[in-house]
Symmetry: C2
DNA sequence: ACTCGATTTGACCATTCGGTTAAACCGTCC
DNA sequence: GGACGGTTTAACCGAATGGTCAAATCGAGT
């Protein structure tokens, strides 16, 4: 087994377990067992368990950053088209990395790793606020950038963090392609109403 | 120290610590120290640490249920007024019990206690869906009850779960009376747009 | 003063945790 | 074939964890 493959397998196992059980409830022995790798290798390759989470978040935020940057850079005819593309892209990313949404939501809600998550999320939020503030020059006062961004972010992310509740509520898989497509359609619809309002109710 | 006061102090300490550190990272010794109570008494009064969380959630959901039932029962002239009152009431509850929002968000995102939280949340969601389905007879297809409820819920709750990020983003306290009032105004505004749409764009 | 049940205490226990270490292993360059 | 750096292994460690228990304490009723 290659050294880089070892690192990969450790990260993969840690990702799955952190997502299922949470960081604190996952032991290094769990990770070793699932990845089929000696426990000491986790520390050899990554340092402490905290460092392993750090490496995992690093990888995720790098991917997310590249993905979102791609959506932002794509040419769009209207503001509405751009927003819809960005939100669809973000939803697709969360759907493809369901553990990521859960890990981040857990660690940002409380706990010892808030700072780590904030550190990486903040720049993206700031970009979002800056970008929106431009588009919101003539928006009503109670649709300010911070509130609006939190609202839109919440709309997108809650489907994934509360997926298990939705599953039991509906009896259907909220992450099936059909359900995800319906959710994205719903988000586009709701955000469309916000854009209408911001642009002055065409 | 009275026995009921002991129970109270243990619950209070556990609440604070679970909210700050998370359930797994909180030790029974932490709880004993903060509450000024012997560690063995936690088990004497509540059983296991899991049972303690259960008791805490039980208390919270009882309070929440009563509070929300009150808002629902209050007389309102319009659908809009009722929805606004309900959402304001919920936001006030979360503001008054900030640890509750964090604990629930953590445990519903992943972990061993998902079922416990789902168990208690589901009835309220079902009520919400049933109530909304009635009001949504002539709504557009992509504004179905489940999606709409998730959206509105996400809008309200994200302000509290992502409070620390907002704090660093703005440099201001997102839970100050002024900020909370502004947030509630914003939520009323956004949800108002949804109601407009559902009622057929008056 | 005595009793009895509920409560409180500190000492204790088995287990598990994250992390370390010395020795073994392995490919590769000379 | 031997030396060398990077990698892997099993055994090990001290600290902490959730939980238990017998003994002590308390308070109300007699």
């Amino acid at each position: 087994m290659d050294a880089t493959e070892t690192r990969q397998r450790i990260l993969e196992a840690a990702d799955g377990l952190f997502g299922e059980l949470g960081f604190d409830a996952t032991t290094t022995r769990d990770i070793a067992e699932r990845s089929g790798v000696n426990k000491a290798l986790i520390h050899y390759h990554f340092g402490t368990k905290d460092d392993l989470l750090e490496a995992l978040l690093e990888r995720y935020y790098e991917q997310l950053g590249a993905t979102m940057q791609g959506a932002f850079a794509r040419p769009h005819k209207t503001l509405r088209a751009k927003v819809e593309d960005v939100l669809d892209t973000y939803a697709d990313f969360l759907a493809a990395h369901s553990t990521f949404a859960r890990i981040v939501q857990r660690e940002v809600a409380s706990g010892r790793h808030i700072e780590r998550v904030v550190e990486r999320t903040l720049p993206m939020f700031q970009l979002g606020v800056a970008w929106m503030s431009e588009a919101l020059t003539k928006a009503p006062r109670d649709l300010d950038a911070v509130n609006l961004l939190t609202t839109v972010y919440g709309i997108v992310v809650t489907w994934f963090t509360w997926g298990e509740v939705v599953r039991r509520l509906t009896g259907k898989d909220p992450f099936s392609p059909a359900a995800l497509e319906a959710r994205k359609r719903h988000v586009r619809r709701v955000v469309g109403l916000l854009i209408d309002e911001v642009e002055g109710r065409k």
